[in-house]
């Protein structure tokens, strides 16, 4: 077998910039003063800010070293379940750096912003087409912001019909932020349990859905990586009582070009451009959480809306029923450009293929690791699979120990202890961008770790051993956080 990726490479220490600086050192030269010197007014004089004095090479080495301590999807496999850490093609960056885009300013008049407005308008249409919905807002800054936008839309919809509903159904397999987004909008989340198959039962929803319930927040595929097979019937029940079906689209990477959400009863869905549409995230850049809706909800979308008339693009605030602005300007436009670039370079066929391969990769891992790790729900999964540490508890090895040990093998750990419905969960999402060779190495690493758990469990308890820093004291960090340098 090939060698594993993790080694003891030479990792350089790096002090804080303030410890590194030396008085009088500078990274630039000012031109010679060619005017008379004159003193500043009293209100403008004070001690300068405490900035370190550094040369250019000090700064370059500092940040280069910090970047070498980091692990990202450009470094290696990053199978963080529920996060879709797929590779972000560099062409996306190239397009976002085109001078017309990079130099755009939100206060420029529409006549001077036709390119960026056209990009936004078309992206709205593409996202509506991909999800099978009717209209899109690009404003929300990230996933949870999109969820909040969805809740505000739901509230505005009921209000327009003279209704005030106070509750919202949130299954235990929904994304963790869903109940918080509902509560932030003033709704009381009603938790419901998934069934023994890991999905929602029609009966469970029928029991709790009533005329005081605004709707349901369902994540599909859910956080167990399973497709909500009863979604159509569930949507019928919710609609029959006048409710709205909100879908958290964070797991859209499993079903692009396969499931048309609008046709299975979804009224509102948010997307994470930074997950499904390959823009950098997780410290690599801001997010973007567009919301797509069915026609009935379109009047309530945030303003301003991007409009097109006779080939001319503009922004309109003329939507009296709108929930208002979600952003000071238009959202994270740089992320939109990258997502637009991704969608255009992939095209409909390849977007579908990306989803198919994401599902295939997850099922491959599920099948090959299911003897080694305990599989929570033994049935075909979507883009991610959920294991637990049950097979290792006899050795007193927990999920956290295996996750930390995986770092020694050169992989980013998967998502751990989420979803909460599986005790000690290990949630693996390989995405479509990993090759079979890389996935095989990941599987072999997990098998080797499971073997170590029986043979030499302290290896795992003391892991990571090869990283820049060893096992951190997360407890003290959480109990007595040190929030300043």
């Amino acid at each position: 077998m090939k060698e594993f990726l993790g080694t003891n490479g030479l990792i350089l220490n790096e002090p804080l910039l303030w410890e590194k600086g030396k008085k009088g050192r500078s990274g630039f030269s000012l031109p010679r003063r060619d005017v008379e010197s004159s003193p500043l007014g009293q209100g403008l004089t004070c001690e300068g800010p405490d900035l370190p004095d550094l040369s250019e090479i000090d700064v370059v080495r500092h940040y280069t070293r910090l970047s070498q301590w980091n692990f990202g999807v450009d470094t290696g496999m990053y199978p963080l379940g529920s996060c879709t850490m797929k590779y972000s093609p560099k062409t996306n960056e190239k397009q976002a750096n085109l001078p017309g885009f990079a130099g755009a300013h939100p206060l420029l008049p529409a006549a001077l912003s036709q390119g960026v407005l056209r990009m936004m308008f078309e992206l709205q249409q593409y996202l509506a087409e991909i999800t099978g919905m009717d209209a899109t807002t690009l404003q929300p800054a990230a996933g949870a912001h999109g969820e909040l936008a969805g809740m505000l839309l739901m509230y505005a919809f009921h209000k327009s019909r003279g209704e005030r509903r106070s509750k919202i159904i949130v299954p235990d397999t929904a994304h963790g932020t869903n109940p918080a987004s509902a509560a932030l909008c003033g709704y009381s989340p009603v938790p419901v349990k998934s069934n023994d198959q890991g999905i929602l039962s029609v009966e469970t929803i029928a029991e709790v859905m009533d005329e005081n319930t605004a709707g349901i927040m369902v994540t599909n595929p859910n956080t167990l990586g399973l497709y909500e097979e009863n979604i159509h019937k569930i949507a019928e029940i919710v609609h029959a009582k006048g409710g709205i079906v909100y879908c958290d689209g964070a797991n859209m990477n499993a079903v692009m070009g396969v499931t048309r959400m609008g046709e299975i009863g979804v009224d509102i869905i948010h997307l994470n451009l930074h997950k499904t549409f390959s823009t950098p995230h997780g410290g690599g850049g801001p997010g973007s959480g567009p919301v797509c809706v069915k026609k009935e909800l379109e009047p309530f979308l945030p303003v301003p809306c991007v409009m097109e008339e006779n080939g001319i693009y503009g922004l309109s605030e003329d939507f009296p029923e709108s929930v208002g602005r979600m952003q000071a300007f238009h959202g994270n436009v740089g992320v939109m450009i990258k997502a637009y670039s991704y969608i255009r370079s992939m095209g409909p066929k390849n977007l579908k293929k990306a989803s198919q391969l994401a599902v295939l990769n997850a099922n491959y891992i599920k099948e090959r690791l299911k003897g080694t790790l305990h599989l929570a729900y033994d049935r075909p999964c979507m883009h991610e699979c959920v294991f637990s540490d049950e097979n290792q508890t006899a050795h007193k090895i927990a999920t956290i120990d295996m996750a930390k040990r995986l770092m020694d093998y050169g992989f980013h750990p998967p998502t751990v202890y989420f979803p909460l419905v599986v005790h000690g969960s290990i949630m693996i999402e390989p995405t479509e961008t990993e090759s079979k060779e890389d996935i095989d190495q990941f599987i072999e690493a997990f098998k080797a770790i499971a073997n170590e758990a029986g043979r030499d469990p302290d290896l795992l308890r003391d892991a990571p051993q090869r990283c820049k820093v060893r096992r951190l004291d997360e407890t003290t960090a959480a109990r007595k956080p040190c929030l300043a340098g």
Binding site: T393, K396, A398, I400, Y417, L420, H423, E474, T475, A478, R479
Partner: protein, 134 residues
Amino acid sequence: MKEINELNMPDDARYADDHEWARLEGDKVRVGLDDYAQDQLGDIVFVELPQEGDSFKKGEVFATVESVKAVCECYLPVGGKIIAVNTALEEAPELLNKSPYGDGWMAELDPAELSEMDTLMTNVKCLEKLKGAE
């Protein structure tokens, strides 16, 4: 993590399905999280307690406990009015791990229906249930 036979489940307390304990002390009831819950949660880093004077029904969320692994809601095993909370947990949440039935107690209440104590499990029954779930 502990094996079931390593758990400390004292016989003077009663246990709820969600692993809260309740202990009768005079006409008051003291509640907390049992050894199984604290062990499963791991190092507890934050505890949110109710206010004195709050009233809850049996089964309602009265507190939230956060560990390095998870956040979990605690359900009151017996309904009633909160008459005291263990404020020491705010500064020292680790008491919940170190002494779940002693210094790590969570709240004391004036029970609305003392008979609700009888709906809870004895330590023997609770351990049997855990063994059955294995």
